[in-house]
Each structure stands twice: as C-alpha cells, then as structure tokens.
C-alpha cells in the first residue's frame, strides 16, 4: 500500500469508526457490559484515526510544491542530534514511568482496588520490563 493510499485509508477508517460510534450511542437504549464503553471507544479511536489521516494528507499536499521545505523537514527529522535528544528523552521518561507504575501498583493495592485492575497493572508493568530486557538482549547481539 502506498503512503497516499494509507493516509486516505486511515482517514476513511476513522470516519467510519466515528460514524459507528455515534450510531451506537444513539441507537442502544440500555447498554450492558462492554457495550457501555464500546461506542465511546469507537468515537475516540475514530476521531484519532481521522485526525491523523487528514493531517498527513494536508501535510503532504502543503509540502508537495516546495521541495526545499521537504528537504529541511527531512534534515530536521534525520538530524543525529535531534534523534539523540529524542532517544535520551524517551529513556528518561521510561525510567520515570517505572517509578510511576510502581507507585500506582502500591497505591492500588493499599486502596483495595479490584484485584483484576491491580493484576492488569502488574502484568503490564512486567510486560514493559520484559520488552526492555528483550531489546537489551537484541541490541547486545547486534552491536
């Protein structure tokens, strides 16, 4: 799929999801279980996908006749210092996230929050830590 087709597909899918979400909100009188949240999830995802797709289309059209601007954007995007700054910021945010996750888990446990919610949080924490270990091993082999 070309970049152009992907952008249009994202925008159309977003619009469809938004439409389905709004339709479900209007038509389901007494929603039960996950159907209470599904319409709003559809609206949220739809708005996100539509906005993302449309912004990509507008951006591509805006820079289409200006190769100099496109070149400058590419340079900024691929600039090694910018990439290095971005990676350092992400690494720092990851370190902070580990502490935030830990504090949240302890808080949830002390607050007596439902066991399912606490376990979901614990497993997501472990999953993130697992990803960190996996990529550490992968890059250790590659570099």
């Amino acid at each position: 799929m070309t970049r152009k087709a992907r952008e249009y597909a994202t925008a159309i899918m977003g619009l469809l999801l938004l439409g389905i979400g709004l339709y479900l909100v209007k038509t389901i009188a007494d929603p039960q279980g996950f159907m209470r949240a599904l319409p709003f999830v559809c609206v949220g995802l739809g708005c996100g996908a539509f906005g993302h797709g449309v912004s990509d289309i507008i951006f591509r059209r805006a820079v289409a006749g200006h190769p100099d601007i496109q070149k400058r954007i590419d340079v900024e995007k691929n600039d090694e210092r910018n990439i290095s700054i971005s990676n350092r910021a992400k690494a720092k945010a990851f370190d902070v996230m580990i502490y935030v996750f830990g504090a949240l888990m302890v808080s949830f446990a002390l607050m007596g929050v439902d066991m399912v919610a606490v376990l979901l949080l614990v497993f997501s924490y472990l999953f993130v830590e697992g990803c960190a270990i996996r990529y550490r091993c992968k890059y250790d082999k590659e570099m």
Partner: protein, 66 residues
C-alpha cells in the same frame, strides 16, 4: 572533546546554515558542535573532516580525562 569547527568555518567564510546544509544536519547541531555541547557520531565527524579536506584528528582534538 574539543574541535576547531568554528575556527575552520570562519576561516573559509561559511555561514552555519550553509555548513549545516552541506552536512545535512540542522543549524542547531552545527551550533552545538561549535560550542562543544555535542560530540558528533563518527560518521558525522568524518563528514565534517572530509568537507574541510582534513583528517578527523585535525578537526577534533581528543583530550584524556584527568
């Protein structure tokens, strides 16, 4: 690590913007390199040295940490 980037650029009368365009990096990167706030990758270091027609050692000065 110190470097002679600013000195070499000024000797040749090149603007930061032009050097950045030639090296395909942002102007901020050139500024940071000149101020010594950022050390380039080995690829960029070679690119810079090649641009000035010099060796990497002539542009970048390695100093042992005390």
């Amino acid at each position: 690590m110190k470097n002679r980037l600013e000195e070499l650029r000024k000797q040749r009368g090149i603007r930061q913007e032009d050097l950045a365009a030639a090296l395909e990096v942002s102007r901020q990167t050139v500024g940071s390199l000149e101020n010594g706030r950022y050390n380039p990758s080995i690829l960029l270091a070679f690119k810079i040295a090649r641009y000035f027609g010099m060796s990497v050692e002539d542009v970048f000065i390695y100093e042992e940490e005390k």
